[in-house]
């Protein structure tokens, strides 16, 4: 199958006809030609061509989306400021989360540390980035879409990290710190070392047995909490996209309170869903997202919504 067709469909939705023809299609044509010309027996080389080509086309589409949706220089400046604040907070929060582990577990690798820190640092960084970067006034529909696209990308990165990279790095650390060389290949996986696929399998086995013990609920909660944490960027970005207040200090304090509340709700859910078995495990894991999505919807429908000015339709003539 010729690669790039899905990307072409995606670009056709996002980019203008002129950008599609002049900027996106040549990038896809390069990918297709390079892929067709590669040796079918060299799987690794073909995979690399696809990876590099897809990455190039995706970045071209992202630039097009930004160019076509953002009309004014002020909007570009606001979005640039949002991205800079986001990156600053991701770095600071990531460093704060990693530093205690570096002191207590010197064997841990940078990859292991980063994979632990990123799933939390990304949504927190994005929350503060939007709170401090976007202005305290209504924003255009185009800007809102760009912020949502950034949040979606952040969620995808979180998902990949928390679902596969983090469990792999955890297991590598367990094997590295095993008592002896003989033990290294035999270190069993704990719940934190299971990938999202492993967790789903354990959950299905427990469900088929009708198992509702705390262990079974722990598997289900961990599976759902990884999905919920991955989508936290999207949920928190939506909340801060619709709600606004004058004064960056007030917005910063609000961002801090929301992140703290998210954390509190996460552990409240764990207590109710896993320890007390009072609510279903998936509700327990998704509790913070349910609360903040409801809050975002409530604010979006109110007069105080930041999107209110930009999303109202023009009055009909006659």
């Amino acid at each position: 199958m010729m690669p790039g067709r899905t990307l072409h469909r995606l670009a056709a939705r996002i980019c203008s006809a002129s950008s599609l023809e002049r900027i996106v299609e040549p990038a896809i044509a390069d990918l297709q030609r390079e892929h067709a010309g590669s040796d079918a027996n060299h799987t690794a080389r073909r995979a690399w061509i696809l990876f590099a080509g897809y990455a190039a086309v995706l970045s071209v589409i992202a630039i097009c989306a930004l160019d076509t949706r953002i009309a004014t220089d002020d909007e570009r400046r606001d979005l640039r400021r949002t991205l800079v604040w986001t990156l600053v907070f991701i770095s600071v929060v990531g460093a704060l989360l990693m530093s205690p582990v570096v002191w207590s577990v010197p064997e841990v690798t940078f990859r292991g540390l980063l994979s632990q820190a990123l799933p939390l640092a990304i949504p927190i960084g994005l929350t503060f980035g939007i709170a401090l970067g976007l202005p305290g006034r209504a924003i255009s529909r185009g800007s809102a879409k760009v912020v949502i696209l950034v949040a979606l990308a952040a969620s995808l990165v979180s998902f990949g990290t928390i679902s596969w990279i983090m469990p792999g790095a955890n297991q590598a650390l367990r094997e590295e710190t095993a008592w002896s060389m003989e033990d290294r290949g035999l270190v069993p996986k704990g719940i934190g070392e299971l990938t999202i696929v492993d967790l789903h399998r354990e959950m299905r086995i427990a469900a088929a047995r009708g198992d509702d013990t705390r262990i079974a609920r722990r598997f289900a909660w961990t599976f759902h909490v990884r999905l919920a944490l991955s989508s936290a960027s999207l949920v928190l970005a939506s909340l801060f996209l619709v709600s606004f207040s004058n004064g960056s200090i007030l917005r910063g304090v609000f961002a801090f309170l929301v992140c703290f509340e998210y954390w509190a709700l996460l552990y409240t859910g764990e207590f109710l869903g896993v320890h007390e078995r009072a609510i279903p495990a998936f509700v327990a894991a998704w509790l913070p997202n349910i609360v903040f999505t409801s809050a975002a919807m409530l604010i979006a429908s109110s007069r105080r919504s930041r999107l209110r000015g930009s999303f109202v339709t023009a009055p009909r003539q006659g």
Binding site: S19, P26, A27, D30, G53, S59, V60
Partner: protein
């Protein structure tokens, strides 16, 4: 009259295209890492808007699948702007005692 602007990337592209017309990926390969796949077409698109380069899609052989590639060549105006910038650079190089005010 405004003097046309030419960034370092645009200058490099015009220099590479001076000898022969090329595809975007060829430009990336010839630049030895100075041009990136993800941004070369965006830069080429902007250069086309400024009138520095022109492009057209290649003829596809019968039965070919996939999208046609786009070839680029400099316009006479693009080459004139490049020449003017090179002349300015040569002038500044000949007078190294001239430094920007600090």
């Amino acid at each position: 009259m405004d003097i046309p602007r030419l960034s370092a990337t645009e200058r490099l592209i015009l220099e590479l295209l001076e000898g022969e017309e090329m595809f975007g990926l060829q430009l990336v390969e010839q630049s030895k890492g100075a041009l990136k796949r993800g941004t070369v077409y965006v830069t080429l698109g902007r250069m086309q808007d400024k009138g520095y380069v022109e492009s057209w899609t290649e003829e596809q052989p019968p039965g070919a699948i996939g999208l046609p590639r786009r070839r680029y060549r400099p316009t006479a105006y693009g080459l004139r702007v490049l020449e003017a910038w090179e002349a300015a650079a040569r002038t500044l190089r000949r007078q190294p005692q001239l430094k920007p005010a600090t």
